[in-house]
């Protein structure tokens, strides 16, 4: 009887110690994991007083949580099992992840339309506008049943109608929609593939007076077939196949390219259209002319003498490798990275053609008017 009582007492004490140790272990693990990669998790008085410390702590812990990738995958699987085919604004499908595009911000789109129209009227240079639809508008066959997406086709049509007579518009929507069964959008990235870029280039050619090269004039090389893009980072759905980064090399009439990137005060130069070595630096998408910088300049040794200025976004990665072959110089300007000083280095009058080419998402969410004003004021 006494032995039993002593054993019970010991058991109680042991279980208490175990509980205490358990609590300490959990907290210690949490602290060590949180601090592993982010040493600034200790509170500062200003953060505590301003109420921002709790969210900083939470974000720090989330970012460095053990088995984060696996747990995110588990969460995705759980949500999918619950019937949720759209997560983080992304439609989940084995055939590809599609970002759901929000309706445009009318204030911003009006401003953008006005500034492009003004540019077309004031500069006296042939000006073109191409709005590129996102995958959710083109690859409608991949959307879940009853899913309703914003009518991008109508928005593009309305915007083009406003532009009539002032700016030449390019119909990328139909060029892509007619090829919707093909691999025109990445499965894991919210962007056009090189093939999609080729179809956009054919649509551009018709309006810009370019004699389009047929696909068999290009030799296709593959940088990787294991690419997983930004959509996959947000919704890591394992069933979706990784993407292939295809490089279309113009072998019929080979060209020499000098691609110069202006990043802040730095200048980087590549003597190829596809600097594949950048892949090894974990910047796989940069195999396309080194990515998009605030100003990316292409000097091409070609029989052409015309110059093209492009105001664009990351969709340029897909179609510019085809377009550059028809010019002596092409300059791509990313207005969202452009500084005021850099704007002075864009001599608009030296170009023969100007193209505004934006994905509908960029055009309807980001205001280009302020930076265009800098360029117009020079």
């Amino acid at each position: 009887m006494l032995k039993e009582a002593v054993r019970m007492k010991l058991w109680k004490k042991l279980s208490r110690v175990a509980c205490m140790l358990g609590m300490l272990c959990i907290a210690f693990l949490a602290i060590s994991y949180a601090a592993e990669q982010n040493s600034s998790l200790l509170p500062e008085w200003g953060e505590v007083r301003g109420g921002t410390y709790a969210s900083k702590l939470e974000q720090g812990l989330k970012a460095n949580f053990p088995y984060r990738q696996k747990l995110t995958q588990l969460a995705l699987d759980l949500k999918l099992a619950g019937g949720q085919r759209v997560q983080n604004q992304i439609y989940i499908n084995k055939e590809g992840l599609l970002r759901n595009t929000d309706p445009p911000n009318k204030k911003i789109t009006d401003k953008n339309t006005q500034v492009i129209m003004r540019f077309g009227e004031e500069e006296g240079i042939p000006t073109y506008l191409m709005l590129i639809p996102t995958a959710s508008a083109v690859k409608q066959q991949l959307l879940p049943n009853f899913a309703q997406t914003y009518n991008q086709s109508r928005f593009i049509e309305d915007t083009y109608n406003q532009m009539s007579g002032k700016v030449t518009t390019v119909d990328a929507y139909n060029a892509l929609f007619n090829k919707r069964e093909e691999y025109v959008y990445y499965r894991t990235e919210n962007n056009l593939t090189a093939l999609g870029g080729y179809y956009v280039y054919t649509a551009l050619g018709k309006k810009m007076g370019i004699e389009n090269s047929s696909l068999n004039q290009f030799e296709i090389q593959y940088a990787t077939d294991e690419y997983r893009g930004d959509l996959f980072q947000r919704s890591p759905y394992k069933e979706v196949r990784p993407d292939t980064l295809a490089l279309y090399c113009y072998t019929r009439y080979p060209r020499d390219y000098v691609v110069t990137h202006h990043v802040g005060g730095e200048i980087k130069t590549y003597h190829t259209l596809y600097p594949v070595h950048l892949q090894e630096m974990d910047r796989e998408m940069n195999v396309y002319f080194g990515g998009v910088s605030s100003i990316t300049d292409f000097q091409i040794a070609s029989p052409y003498s015309t110059r093209l200025l492009v105001f664009g976004d990351k969709t340029a990665l897909s179609y510019l490798p085809f377009v550059v072959n028809h010019y002596q110089q092409v300059t791509l300007v990313d207005l969202f990275q452009l500084s005021r000083e850099q704007a002075e280095d864009v001599p608009v009058n030296e170009y023969d053609q100007v193209l505004f080419a934006y994905s509908l998402e960029t055009y309807s969410r980001l205001d280009i008017s302020t930076r265009m004003e800098w360029i117009l004021s020079i």
């Binding site: 208490r16 175990a18 702590l57 969460a75």
Partner: protein
């Protein structure tokens, strides 16, 4: 900071528990108060001074009553001051939120009403004056209950706040209860709230009969799972700290009558208003008319608990009027009716009450009722609502399932049949749920 944050679950809670049980029992109240204030400082630092001022004034009023023990007028002044101060804070804060869109103060209703209740109990000499400022402050601002209660009497928790030995089985049970609450709040409540908002944000021309039904049902589930999730988490955390809090919800959507619904929905709040207001109004000793009025007052207060909004007031009045009818008109009919029919009746009344709860005005609520029964000239359904339902079918099924007592019945039955196996099994289920919760919170 929220109780479902990973930084709370994996960092603040285990550290707090460790320090709490590592210090001598006498110091545990102080540690728990410090943890509560730290939590508040992380969650809403701007509201901390208001909380401290409010609790300090309540404590001062109570000490004032002790000093003026022999002077009834002085005692009455103290309690009136406390009443006016707390009511003033509530009205001022609500007005700031409603009129100027200011940030709502976390737990204001809980700590003011708890402080007022303690002072009132001492005034009525139902309990001795609380001398210890730590236990008084801890009772008012114990952090887990700040979100949605439960509103608990000082007498019920005083002993536990002073003597709270570490009991591993209670720690595990508390952790389980916390996990269940977090699932209710985060997964079911959060998920169904998103569905509710999606329907609410539909353009008027996109509304259909089916979408209106879904709107009302989603709101009913959203309110229940969000609030009961908070209360279960509070119960779980309190249990881990050795304090037993009462349940605040008991499967309200399977009530047998509207009165039964009020006894199962926001239980401690209902009890609080009955204790402080209904009893003060002499209960039903002044005849049926006065009693009916008292019931309506309680109903209105139950509605106002959710905010100073005319529709919440109407919601309380609507349900209150059914309680009056049940009490004075068809009490015997209900008693003679089979349980299933009683439950259907109560569910219909309660669900229809959520049309009032959902509306921004009485007119909009009437519009919801009209649309629900197809008199609004709306389509039966459209692709948008079908998409929403097909994307959330499992969530809706789970909401229906967990709003009934089926899980409770099954787990109780299992505990009786295989006590040891069920304990291990339920702990494993809780661990799996915690893992899933962590994944979802990432």
């Amino acid at each position: 900071m929220r109780m479902t944050n990973l930084s709370f679950i994996y960092l603040i809670l285990p550290l707090s528990l460790f320090v709490f049980y590592a210090v001598p029992p006498k110091a545990r109240g102080g540690v728990l108060l410090a943890v509560s204030l730290l939590y508040y400082a992380l969650a809403q630092p701007r509201g901390l001074w208001l909380l401290l001022a409010c609790v300090a004034l309540d404590y001062a009023a109570m000490q004032g009553m002790a000093l003026l023990d022999k002077h009834p007028r002085g005692r009455r002044f103290c309690v009136t001051f406390c009443f006016a101060k707390n009511l003033g804070f509530i009205v001022w804060s609500s007005a700031m939120v409603e009129i100027y869109g200011a940030e709502a103060r976390l737990g204001l209703l809980i700590y003011t009403l708890t402080g007022l209740d303690t002072v009132l109990c001492a005034y009525r000499r139902e309990m001795p004056i609380v001398r210890n400022p730590v236990t008084f402050a801890l009772h008012c601002c114990f952090f887990p209950k700040l979100y949605a209660g439960p509103l608990v009497e000082y007498r019920a928790v005083r002993e536990q706040m002073i003597h709270s030995p570490l009991q591993p089985h209670r720690l595990i049970e508390g952790a389980g209860e916390f996990v269940h609450g977090a699932v209710k709040n985060l997964v079911l409540g959060g998920g169904i709230t998103v569905v509710y908002r999606s329907i609410r944000n539909m353009a008027p021309e996109e509304a259909t009969v089916l979408s209106t039904w879904c709107l009302v049902i989603a709101l009913a589930f959203s309110v229940y799972f969000t609030l009961s999730g908070f209360c279960d988490m509070a119960k779980g955390i309190a249990a881990m700290f050795g304090i037993k809090l009462p349940a605040n919800f008991y499967y309200p959507y399977q009530s047998r009558s509207v009165e039964d619904f009020f006894n199962r929905f926001n239980i401690t709040v209902n009890q609080y208003f009955r204790r402080t207001v209904y009893r003060s109004l002499q209960e039903d000793k002044n005849g049926p008319a006065a009693d009916a009025l008292n019931i309506l007052v309680i109903g209105m207060l139950m509605g106002l608990w959710f905010g100073f909004h005319v529709n919440y007031l109407l919601w309380g009045l609507y349900l209150g009027s059914f309680i009056i009818l049940e009490k004075y008109l068809y009490k015997k009919v209900l008693q003679a009716t089979p349980t299933l029919f009683c439950r259907v009746y109560a569910l219909c009344v309660v669900l229809s009450s959520f049309t009032i709860f959902a509306g921004n005005s009485a007119r909009q609520s009437l519009g919801f009722i009209r649309d629900m029964f197809g008199f609004g000239g709306l389509e039966a359904f459209n692709e948008q609502i079908l998409y929403l339902l097909s994307s959330n079918w499992l969530l809706l099924v789970l909401c229906v399932f967990f709003s009934t007592s089926l899980t409770y019945v099954v787990s109780t039955w299992m505990r009786k049949l295989w006590p040891r196996v069920s304990r291990v099994l339920l702990a494993a289920v809780d661990a799996a749920i915690l893992l899933a919760l962590t994944a979802l919170a990432l």
